[in-house]
Symmetry: C2
Subunit: 392 residues, 2 copies
């Protein structure tokens, strides 16, 4: 048996293990210091009440003869798809139920979607970036070209005529930079995709952090996107589902390449290699979209956003350049005094006992930048900023 | 963008839609007849009490600040892996925790495992077969050769020197035939795999139905299998998890091909393209392995097995040849009077209002055979057999 040799080309990431090592060493040498972690990429607030109640009810049902559910539809139950359909309708995006595919999260689908594309395609990936886009294509030996995101374009790179690619990843609000594309910018991307017969893989996992109605939460708010884009979304950050696992992917029925319906191809992929999301979890997800559920999840989202605001205001005061922090849980800042990412990491840890994430870990264009996140408590975030005020 | 053209080669299966159409028509024309479905491939008993209680507790935890869990390890929590480790230990199979990968089911893993193999491999698949083995390889354009399972070899095909392949699928107890390999037979397969530098993908999804201790429940009960096999298992049929979704895959640390550790490759695949099984579901799965949980799930398994026995005894009485029905929820019978699969389907439906599954739907060697399952109630199964007694 011959193995997939492309796995040899995967880069090992030492980012989080190096951070852990440095933090452990610091803690050992400074047992009296309270370390504040602003590097967390995971939610910290518990599941909201509506979700808990819905899942309790679903678990109880599964224990009764009348309520028990075996295999469900691989693409998800209609009760959940109907809620998502309504959620999009609020932004004037019309979806058919068959265009909505419930999944166990955006990460799975972003990797698995590549199954339906030829190996021959050229892939365009922004740098800095969520590492999964690069790794999943490397596993399948696709040619990758990078799209330069930097301070000049505010980490929102735009298409150029000379860029030729078949697949492009756009993530807005962005991980790790927190930057958000506006409508005009996304229109240009759709135009470029159509001209190049390319497909946009739109990662909308952070859409719920957008609070300006003029900013698109979905690529399908852009005219023509239904013929050139697939959208991936998740309840991970929206409703604290990182450990509960539910997301959804939108593939419109009129998304056709090579005379093949990508909607039908994805349905075939999912029915063959996936058995659907647990019934219990789908009932929890359904509750997220109820009136009460929306109220509850926005209490958490707004709590995180308040933290982002506290960080952003501190940076402004010190004239530190940054993106994000408004429509995103992430703040992406230029390291002061031309420090490298790791120099600033050490500086923050040594001088203020604050842990963040060096931008260099997200690609070459991340060098000299740094990511702070809003997933700690209000109290800790405030205390961290007071410490920052003292050392900047 | 170019699509994956291999999808054009996928055969559409009309098996279950044709069955549904025929049954609907019969029901319309015979509104007074009670149809008994013995074609069901899904469990029908509710989740057992221990599982429900464990999941209720986990859901409640997730709603509290102290108990909330975000991202978990992609390969599963140790609390569950330790239980599986002990479960294997009972059969003298030693597993390290890192050799156990928790997943959302055997179907996902059986498809996704192909990611770590080269496209160049030749795949050996028994016929008749669970269609997923064929489809997932067709999607990746691997050459497939078939292994003839038939009445002569009791649907337990054995390796031959002239068979050259790199990957072989073995499913025991088998879906759809219910046939079970014994130890000597599996030893021959391990020997063949080693001689041919091939890998065995061992689908053990029905292992819990084995009640004869001399029959292997795991390929790792065979000496040397750890160097040439991966095992896939599921709680779907074991504990009624078809709608709750949890399984596990065993990749031993010393499974090396091309100087690459398949354990490390699978870990890389799962950490890159998967985010783990919901915490709540893993707590439910943990309860399956408790003393009380085992007692409860075996009440259900034995209930199904009692149905299988009722069917098997009826067939014996009429001298109808069959496999399965003892260590399996499936009974695979030779259609009487040389009827084809579909002729027997029509005969059963018209004369006895019983629905089963034509063997021809599982591959060319399934022609002339028929699958009955034990997932209906005791009462209905008995009634169906009384009807069968009258028409045979």
């Amino acid at each position: 048996m011959k193995t997939n040799q492309n796995y040899k080309k995967l880069a090992e990431s030492y980012l989080f293990s190096t951070i852990a090592k440095k933090v452990n060493e610091y803690a050992k040498n400074n047992p009296d210091k309270k370390i504040i972690r602003l590097g967390i990429g995971d939610v910290t607030k518990p599941l909201c009440k509506s979700v808990v109640e819905a899942m309790q009810k679903a678990v109880a049902e599964m224990g009764t003869q009348e309520g028990f559910r075996g295999y469900g539809p691989e693409q998800g139950y209609d009760f959940l798809k109907e809620k998502i359909q309504k959620y999009y309708k609020k932004r004037n995006v019309n979806l058919k139920l068959d265009e909505i595919f419930i999944s166990d999260g955006a990460k799975s689908d972003l990797g698995n979607i590549l199954d339906i594309f030829s190996k021959e395609n050229i892939v365009l990936i922004p740098d800095p970036v969520y590492p999964v886009y690069v790794d999943t294509n490397t596993m399948q030996d696709r040619k990758i070209i990078f799209l330069e995101a930097n301070q000049q374009n505010c980490f929102l790179p735009m298409p150029k005529d000379e860029i030729k690619a078949d697949i492009v990843y756009l993530c807005s609000p962005n991980n790790p930079t927190g930057a958000v594309y506006n409508k005009i910018q996304l229109e240009k991307w759709v135009e470029w995709a159509k001209k190049n017969n390319a497909i946009i893989l739109f990662d909308a996992a952070y859409e719920c952090f957008i609070s300006d109605d003029s900013l698109p939460k979905s690529i399908f708010e852009i005219k023509g996107a239904e013929n050139c884009a697939i959208e991936f979304c998740s309840l991970s950050k929206t409703a604290g589902f990182t450990g509960t696992r539910c997301g959804y992917t939108i593939v419109k029925e009129n998304l056709i390449f090579d005379e093949m319906s990508l909607n039908k191809m994805w349905l075939r992929r999912q029915t063959t290699k996936f058995n659907g999301v647990p019934y219990i979890v789908q009932r929890g997800a359904e509750a997220v979209f109820s009136e009460q559920g929306q109220k509850e999840i926005y209490e958490n989202i707004n709590y995180y956003k308040e933290n982002a605001k506290i960080i952003a205001e501190t940076l402004k005061k010190h004239n530190i350049w940054f993106t994000g922090g408004v429509h995103s849980p992430y703040i992406w800042l230029k390291c002061p005094n031309n420090m490298t990412s790791w120099e600033f990491f050490d500086f923050l840890l040594e001088k203020a006992a604050i842990v963040g994430t060096p931008g260099a870990g997200f690609g070459k264009n991340g060098e000299g930048f740094f990511r702070l996140t809003s997933f700690n408590t209000n109290e800790n975030t405030k205390e961290a900023m007071e410490r920052l005020n003292k050392i900047l």
